[in-house]
Amino acid sequence: MNGAIERFDDRARRRVGAYGRTMVRENELVRHPVYTRVLHWSVAIFFILALLSGFAIYSPWLYRALTPLFGGGPTTRLLHPWFSLGFVIFFAFQILNWLEPMTWTSDDRRWMKQVKSYVTNKEPVEPEYVDFFNGGQKLYFWAIVASAVVFLLSGFPMWFPKTFGRITVDIGYVLHDIAALVMLVGFIVHLYEGTGAQPGTFQAMTRGTVERRWAWTHHPAWYRRATGRDPRTDYEQARQRSSRPPDPTARTDLK
């Protein structure tokens, strides 16, 4: 099974990759190949369209604000399930693509226990065991998987209520709302983490590369695997070379 998925992913990465390129500048590492980037932004476009058209029929004031974007209420209702299907289909490929790096491990449990120090930027670099994705990223990924399942199971009865019956619609409606709210929170946090919160991250999904500094800061174990070098040593050496004040953690004294 895993072998088949690997073979499929390899072929897809090669085929789609042939249409694009990833330019690696000096001191950079390839983070996301063309295939991953294309999938990510296809998922993102459909997801955002589905989110907006879905929340358009969520409450009266959102209805007024958002339905005009899609040409009015009836077209919003017509388009929403199709946007969602687009999201689910592309995300299915992303699941296959990321199954391996997203697998939950004991390191992720460890990471979750120290999430407070992550949120408060306590350490200049992440713990040495953080690999390609950290626990928070994996949590977001699996939350999307779970929500996609809930969206599908509750969405079809709401799309074809005659076939599925009233009770399924009544229950599905509530589950659909909960999944949408979870996705909204996740999306806001994701948007922030991918842009403002972590300078140098956005280019991972656009140009496909990250700086080496970025890699040993946020994903030391991946840095070790990708370069064969020790992230901590490279970080210390770079720190000594740099002309900046010796320890940026001094900030805690400046509250």
């Binding site: 409450s59 009836p74 949120v119 922030y192 403002g196 300078p199």
Partner: protein
Amino acid sequence: MPSGTLQIKAISAHSGPIPGQGVQREEDVCKYIDVTTCIGCKACEVACVEWNDMPFQQTTFDNTYQTMPATAWNYWNLIKFNEHQRDDGSLMWLMRKDQCMHCEDPGCLRACPADGAIVQYTNGIVDFQQENCIGCQYCVSGCPFDIPKFNSSTKKVYKCTLCSDRVGQGLEPACIKACPTGCLKFGTKTDMRALADARAQQLREHSGFANAGVYDPPSVGGTHVIYVLHDATKPEQYGGLPANPVIPPTYTIWKRAAKPIGLLLALLAAPVAFFHYVMEGPKEPAP
């Protein structure tokens, strides 16, 4: 008899004030249906189809006298023919005119997410406005009486209007006008309720229907269509009239309270992220 322009009391999924609210006070209207004197002639069915200019369609014959198994998007008024066995073994018809009940607290309107697709007038009539309907069919699952019906080619939902177009002009609904036995009457809610109570009492005291009573279910705030039943303790035997019709909690507690609170909490993530940036700053690659 109410007449003049219909004033709106409630609008589905509407934010902001209701235009003209409270300008005019009106009597609540009510359709009175005495099930005990209905002869099943279907004059009301024909009158409804005629007045509303509805195209006819093929239907299913299911070995009853009923025109079709259930009301349809273009057939809003249906006499349900129920064969009932009395205690002594003899048979009787329980004929019930099935249509929208024009609930005082309408589940359809509560469920509807589209601004102005369902309105309730000050006289109590609940009316669908197809030009605003988005075809989501939430009203179908919100209605305890299984009334709104979807037309898959127009992608809109339809139901009995209680002839709001006639009532607004001071006329009675078409079905009332057509009924030959006088089992249908139309007037103010107060008058019709009094008439129904009197008729039920008559049935109890003089016709041997000890359980005769009026169907005006308080669980939906009362209805603007009321029935006099031979046996008000068993409304289900009249073609599935629910004894205690309830709007699913999905469209009451969940939609009214949980959804807005949930959305507010979810959107809180945005200011939290913003102030995280302001207070903790970005996590730069080190050094």
